[in-house]
């Protein structure tokens, strides 16, 4: 088949594009480091003996020009060496070990949030499109509008206060690894996932509702009715798939935003994830660590988006044809 012969070239092309995006993003990042209003030398290399000064400057790469600095940085980054937390005397903890501890927690949080948001939004979106303009639809959309207009940290604090502290149904804060206790792990994740997920549900439901309404007008839906299929079957087997491309794309874009942006919720619920590390790096002026974190978020963003591209291609073969594969 035609699609198969071109797919390898396609994948390679796609990978080349991804590499370019990652390189461009990280290069800009390292330029930004040089453009900071504080000189890095004044920040990290003051009050030291001359000997230590020179060593520190060399270790941080401050003696190189921006381009050469970037190449060295990239080489280290690719090998998994993300630099160190800079201490005045040198020799802080490696950033990689921070990432190793923080990233899995954030990824868990983000995945649970997405699964929860999609699991609720898909039936809700279909239902409100199916009942478009009727009472159910209005009820769902007012409810979601209200939920979405509460900022997630307010939601988080309220949940922690009411469900966690007052009712004591769930722990108001803290993270328990799966290896320790699966049940406690899930219990600890419920409130942060709700706080991050509820505003997402609102936007996902709206997106899906719009696309489902458009799909319901298609001839093939009328034809499915004329085949004698039930409404439920038509909605889930004929309508959902062609309507889900916008939703999937939005979910992919949210991945990156969630990885870097769960900072506040991580702080509210004391989850030592990547968001928390990014916060520490900003307030502690650990710009080299920050560069590594942001670069990782950029890589994650690109990876998730290409994964979703593949999924979208499977879900809706029309998009594959349009790309000429």
């Amino acid at each position: 088949m035609k699609a198969k012969t071109t797919s390898i070239v396609d994948v390679l092309k796609r990978l080349a594009q991804l590499l370019l995006v990652v390189i461009g993003a990280t290069f800009l990042l390292s330029l930004l480091l040089r453009l900071l209003p504080v000189g890095l030398k004044e920040l990290y290399v003051t009050g030291l003996f001359e000997e230590d000064r020179q060593r520190q400057i060399k270790e941080l790469g401050l003696d190189r020009n921006a381009f050469s600095y970037y190449l060295h940085w990239l080489w280290d980054f690719v090998r998994g060496d993300f630099g160190r937390i800079v201490l005045p005397g040198g020799g802080g903890e490696s950033v990689a070990s921070h990432v190793g501890r923080a990233l899995p927690k954030t990824l868990q949080l983000v995945f649970y949030t997405q699964i929860f948001a999609l699991a609720v939004a898909i039936p809700l979106g279909i239902l409100s499109a199916y009942r478009a303009g009727r009472r159910t639809d209005r009820f769902v959309s007012y409810g979601l509008f209200t939920a979405a207009s509460v900022p997630n940290f307010v939601l988080g604090l309220l949940l922690a206060l009411i469900v966690g502290a007052k009712l004591e149904w769930l722990p108001p804060l803290g993270y328990v690894p799966i290896s320790e206790s699966f049940v406690d792990h899930i219990r600890g994740m419920v409130l942060p996932v709700l706080s991050l997920g509820i505003p997402l549900i609102a936007s996902y439901t709206r997106l899906l509702r719009t696309d489902v309404i458009a799909t319901l007008r298609e001839d093939f839906v009328t034809m499915a009715v004329a085949k004698g299929l039930s409404d439920r079957r038509i909605l889930f087997t004929h309508v959902l798939r062609p309507s889900s491309v916008t939703l999937l794309t939005a979910a992919a874009l949210n991945m990156g935003a969630l990885i870097g942006g769960s900072l506040v919720i991580e702080r509210v619920f004391s989850i030592p994830g990547l968001g928390t590390e990014i916060g520490f790096a900003i307030f502690g002026r650990q710009y080299f660590a920050l560069q590594a974190y942001v670069a990782l978020v950029a890589v994650g963003y690109v990876v998730f988006n290409s994964v979703i591209d593949v999924i979208v291609g499977i879900v809706d073969p029309r998009t594959r044809e349009r790309r000429g594969a």
Binding site: A226, K227, G228, P317, R318
Partner: protein, 302 residues
């Protein structure tokens, strides 16, 4: 639409003609209860095989779909789900409506594709609609419609969206299938040539009204309604010298939301009389069964 009374006899073929906007498609969909939405108001009765189905809830009417009634849509480019393979769309109704298991349904789907004369049915089962041409897609739509051996098939302009070269093949196929499966068929079209070749009876619609109804051969030899005559005259003919003006019907269809008194065709009728402008003529049945809606039919009242 109003005053539409159409009776399709078992195993016969009824042509439904009329110009764009005369209500052909609406009639088909109304008969199958496929008109949905807030601005649909309907009354009347639909009787299928002795059962009144016009006022049943949608879910109950669907029990008749596939096995009792089926429909072929106008545009094969939009009638198939673009994200699902042909095989799964075709086998679906076999599994759901006839309770076949997946394997049997798949084999039957391949047989159906062969029945509608698609070369290499096995490969086609695995394709997406986007990989097929319009003619091939319409064959798939037909295969889907006849999958559960319906007694009555609505064909809503099945060839309008197709290339001229494919049109004849599809119509031929429909006629053959109808004979082999002993189905009744309501063929909607605006092409009188198609009606002449493929139907036993004809209903002519104008502005949502039945204006003439007769066995096909009779309609072409002795039409009563001036509108039918005008339709026939507006077919381009090869035996006339080229370069002349194409005969056409002057004026346009009346606004269906704001009907004026009198016969809807009166403003465009060459034989119009005063009475036609004030009263809607009733449907008249002549002694030979020829039904028409005209005060002053061509050839006089039969």
């Amino acid at each position: 639409m109003r005053g539409v009374d159409i009776d399709v006899q078992a195993a016969s073929s009824m042509g439904i003609v009329g110009e764009s906007g005369s209500g052909k498609t609406v009639m088909c969909r109304a008969a199958m209860g496929l008109l949905r939405g807030g601005n649909v108001r309907s009354s009347g009765s639909v009787v299928f095989d002795g059962d009144e189905i016009g006022n049943l809830p949608s879910a109950d009417v669907r029990k008749y779909f596939g096995t009792g009634m089926a429909m072929i849509f106008q545009d094969p480019m939009t009638a198939l789900n673009p994200v699902r393979r042909i095989g799964s769309q075709l086998a679906e109704s076999l599994v759901i409506r006839l309770g076949m298991n997946k394997k049997a349904a798949r084999d039957r789907a391949a047989e159906l594709l062969a029945l509608v004369r698609i070369p290499d049915p096995e490969a086609t089962l695995r394709k997406f609609p986007g990989q097929l041409s319009g003619g091939m897609r319409q064959r798939v739509v037909i295969a889907t419609a006849i999958a559960c051996k319906p007694k009555l098939l609505f064909a809503d302009e099945p060839t309008t969206a197709l290339d001229v070269t494919v049109q004849a093949q599809i119509l031929e196929l429909l006629s053959d299938l109808r004979r082999d499966l002993n189905m009744a068929m309501a063929l909607v079209t605006h092409d009188l040539g198609v009606v002449a070749n493929h139907t036993d009876y004809v209903t002519v619609l104008y502005a949502g009204l039945v204006v003439e109804q007769a066995p096909t051969t009779k309609l072409f030899t002795s039409m009563r309604m001036p509108y039918t005559e005008a339709l026939l005259k507006s077919i381009p003919r090869l035996d006339q010298p080229s370069g002349g003006r194409m005969p056409m019907i002057g004026g346009r269809l009346p606004d269906p939301t704001n009907p004026e008194p009198g016969c809807p065709f009166a403003p465009r009728c060459p034989y119009v009389q005063d009475r036609c402008r004030s009263e809607v003529p009733p449907l008249t049945t002549a002694a030979d069964g020829h039904v028409y809606r005209c005060f002053y039919p061509i050839g006089g009242h039969g």
